[in-house]
């Protein structure tokens, strides 16, 4: 017990101290969070009328970010899987960083999904026992289960590992390995279930395709590791933590192949839908070409496509893939490309036209964007803190022996 409290104190003490760069970063994020506080106050008092959402397009950037971030959370498995299944040495050393990213991403998911709710004050209605949990009928309840389960698994897996490292104790493999293996499968489940959330609705023909889960997973395994590569390179350049090239190289390979498959699936879908367009392909047509002057989404679609295709082609070239000056920028481009593809490219045109054929436009309001950015800022703050603590422990900056010895 004493060890655990010491761990907590040391961990917190370590993460709040840092260089001016660190404080600058936190201050930068805090700016967004301040606006977020205002935006949330407005949304809670005025209602969702402060957003650009309408009855026609009732799922907007909150849910788009949610869907995307589920993918990022699932993407963490690209670190854990090679480490434990293929015993990839370089990856094994940084597994816990992947888990920390997953935690931060799930936190963002939860923030976004709560922000999407019209009545967050009634959240307790969904809790089993005191509320009504419509499981197994409602896919949303599955999503609640898998997301929270994934959060718990990663919290256990990550912090158990860090705690043992902190104490210089051996891992109890009988406990730890099952958690890891379950988490690997679970990671697939979160994005699969989130895809099911959308594609089990025949009312929305653009989503109603069996290709959705695999598209979700391939884009997730491109976007997730893209972010991880960026994070790893930042960590490598700013801390003493040495992340081996092999780990980054493996991740960039995963990005390029998953991105390739994702693009192939997009191509298949476009050909299927547009060779002989039916009413069901109206959403895709609206997305790609607009409709009589209603073309908000058109630049986003083509921009995202250019980002993804050029990212894919660039990463196919080994010399570029291994150029760590260029790599983070390409990864950022891919990450943003997939973010747009999930949001402006998939979630919003799913609602346009409406099931009775009305074509509309959706543009998020300032407060809606501010709230979304705030969620991201909170997520990055959580990620920064988690990574900082984890790196501190991995580097041995904080350990039980040290604090005990220091006394």
């Amino acid at each position: 017990m004493k060890k655990i409290s010491k761990f907590t104190v040391d961990y917190l003490g370590y993460v709040v101290k840092g260089s001016p760069k660190f404080y600058g970063w936190v201050a930068f994020l805090s700016m967004f969070i301040l606006v977020w506080v205002y935006g949330n106050y407005m949304q809670l008092t005025e209602g969702m009328i402060i957003t650009g959402l309408t009855d026609q397009v009732s799922w907007g950037i909150y849910l788009a970010n949610f869907v995307f971030l589920v993918g990022v959370a699932a993407g963490a498995v690209t670190v854990v899987f090679p480490a434990y299944v293929y015993k990839h040495k370089a990856m094994h050393e940084v597994t816990v960083l992947g888990e920390m990213l997953a935690i931060a991403a799930v936190v963002m998911c939860l923030l976004f999904v709560i922000m999407h709710m019209g009545r967050p004050d009634r959240l307790w209605h969904i809790l089993p026992v005191i509320g009504i949990f419509n499981w197994p009928h409602a896919i949303l309840t599955w999503d609640v289960l898998v997301l929270n389960g994934y959060l718990v698994l990663n919290l256990i897996g990550g912090f158990y590992y860090l705690y043992k490292k902190y104490c210089h104790e051996e891992l109890n493999k009988k406990f730890y390995l099952p958690v890891i293996y379950i988490a690997i499968v679970w990671a697939l489940s979160i994005h699969t279930v989130t895809a099911f959330l959308l594609n089990t609705m025949p009312a929305r023909p653009m989503w109603h395709t069996g290709m959705m889960p695999i598209r979700f997973i391939t884009t997730a395994f491109a976007a997730g590791p893209s972010l991880i590569i960026i994070v790893f390179l930042i960590v490598r350049n700013n801390t003493r933590m040495m992340i081996k090239d092999e780990a980054i190289n493996l991740l960039s390979q995963i990005v390029v192949w998953c991105l390739g498959i994702a693009l192939f699936l997009t191509l298949s879908e476009v050909v299927t839908e547009l060779y002989h367009p039916t009413e069901h392909s109206m959403g895709l047509q609206y997305l790609m070409f607009g409709y009589h002057g209603l073309n908000n989404l058109v630049p986003w679609f083509w921009g995202s496509l250019v980002a993804m295709v050029s990212g894919f082609i660039l990463l196919l070239i080994p010399s570029i893939r291994k150029n760590y000056k260029l790599l983070p920028w390409i990864c950022a481009m891919i990450f943003l490309g997939i973010w747009v593809e999930k949001g402006m490219g998939l979630l919003i045109p799913g609602s346009i036209p409406t099931p009775i054929g009305e074509i509309t436009q959706y543009s998020p309001t300032f407060l809606e964007i501010a709230n979304s950015l705030g969620n991201w800022a909170i997520g990055f703050l959580v990620l920064t803190i988690l990574l900082k603590g984890a790196i501190g422990i991995l580097l041995g900056d904080i350990s039980y022996a040290k604090t005990e010895g220091g006394k």
């Binding site: 019209g118 009413e279 409406t354």
Partner: protein, 362 residues
């Protein structure tokens, strides 16, 4: 007057202090009515903020707006309507009646009449007769206390369907990819998607010579996709057919809006705008009682009227008698006669939702 029993629209029970004439009789005002607007607005905001500020609410309970705050406090803890005992229902209804009456300055009743045995509501609409006048749309708003003005909510949407044009002159035009039903063209010109229906038509007079009209509202499906996806079972199918929403249990996740193939559900993006003088005081718990912000609402076949025997409001105002309503279990009902004798179809039958809303032609 020959009215024998018209329960729904009779003025509310006048036994207690009637407040339908509150302006005329100041003594008639509800006890909470002297609360200043700003205070009330503030309390409502607090209600919205909830968990975090419930503590704050508790602190404020001792203040002047006690009844209002108590009501919202109690409403917050209220269970799902279907799981309530009769006693709990009575308490919830009394609470709501008190709050609505004070809010709208008249005696508001909240009915809980359950479904009758042997009744399954069905609706039939003569698509050949409909002239697209949208009177049903506006009648529905009046009857069901929908939000007005900038926050307008309408449960019925009428589509204008162009008859389109086949003519020699248009042979080379290809498929226009528009809203027409019949289009000219040839086999190799790019085949655009034909979307049917114009939503915002505003001609001087209807019906247009070259159009027919297609009103769409909730189909009260036998297998409603919206019910299946609701994570908290706040929306469900009543035994007599209508799919209803317990507005006090809805968490506003809008899964149902996504799942509905008929775009029949609406969301209260902000606090609904319902002018006091236009408020219909005869309400049902599952029907037209005033909604709060952040919850979903929809057509209930006017449950507050139909449970008491009256036709839905849209049926009664249709100037061409295109709307028919009745008991599907009664072989002599108007709807059953139509099913037996007319050519009937259901919208998006391929969805396997089994609507109880039928379209027919003579």
């Amino acid at each position: 007057m020959t009215n024998k029993k018209i329960p729904v629209t009779q003025p509310a029970d006048q036994s207690s202090c009637s407040c339908s004439d509150a302006q005329a009789n100041p003594a008639c005002e509800m006890p909470d009515d002297n609360v200043s607007e700003s205070r009330r607005g503030f309390m409502k905001d607090v209600g919205g903020l909830s968990v975090a500020s419930l503590m704050g609410t508790a602190a404020l309970l001792t203040n002047s707006d006690e009844a209002q705050a108590n009501t919202e406090w109690a409403e917050w803890f209220q269970g799902n309507y279907r799981l309530m005992t009769d006693e709990e229902k009575a308490r919830a209804v009394a609470r709501l009646e008190r709050r609505y009456s004070s809010e709208y300055g008249k005696k508001v009743t909240v009915d809980t009449t359950p479904a009758q045995d042997g009744v399954l509501f069905g609706y039939a609409l003569n698509i050949q007769k409909c002239i697209g006048c949208r009177r049903c749309v506006k009648a529905c708003v009046q009857e069901n206390n929908q939000s007005r003005g900038e926050r307008e909510i309408e449960w019925i949407r009428v589509l204008k369907m162009e008859k389109g044009d086949f003519s020699v002159g248009k042979m080379k035009d290809g498929y226009p990819g528009d809203f027409g039903i019949q289009v000219g063209g040839n086999a190799y010109s790019a085949s655009g998607v034909v979307l049917e229906g114009e939503h915002y038509y505003e001609p001087e007079k209807v019906p247009d010579a070259d159009a027919f009209y297609m009103p769409i509202a909730c189909m009260q499906c036998e297998k409603p996709p919206c019910v299946k996806v609701c994570p908290v079972r706040t929306t469900y199918r009543e035994p007599d057919g209508p799919v209803v929403v317990d507005y006090n249990w809805c968490i506003g996740c809008r899964m149902c809006i996504g799942a509905c193939p008929y775009w029949a559900r609406r969301f209260n993006w902000g606090k609904p705008n319902l002018p006091k003088e236009e408020m219909n005081p005869n309400t049902h718990y599952l029907g037209n009682r005033p909604r709060m912000k952040g919850v979903v609402e929809k057509c209930t076949f006017c449950i507050q009227r139909t449970r008491k025997g009256r036709y839905p409001a849209c049926v009664e105002v249709c100037p061409v008698g295109a709307r028919k309503f009745g008991n599907l279990l009664d072989p002599n009902s108007e709807v059953r006669q139509i099913l037996a004798k007319k050519r009937v179809f259901r919208l998006k039958a391929e969805m396997n939702t089994y609507p109880k809303f039928f379209y027919f032609i003579d």
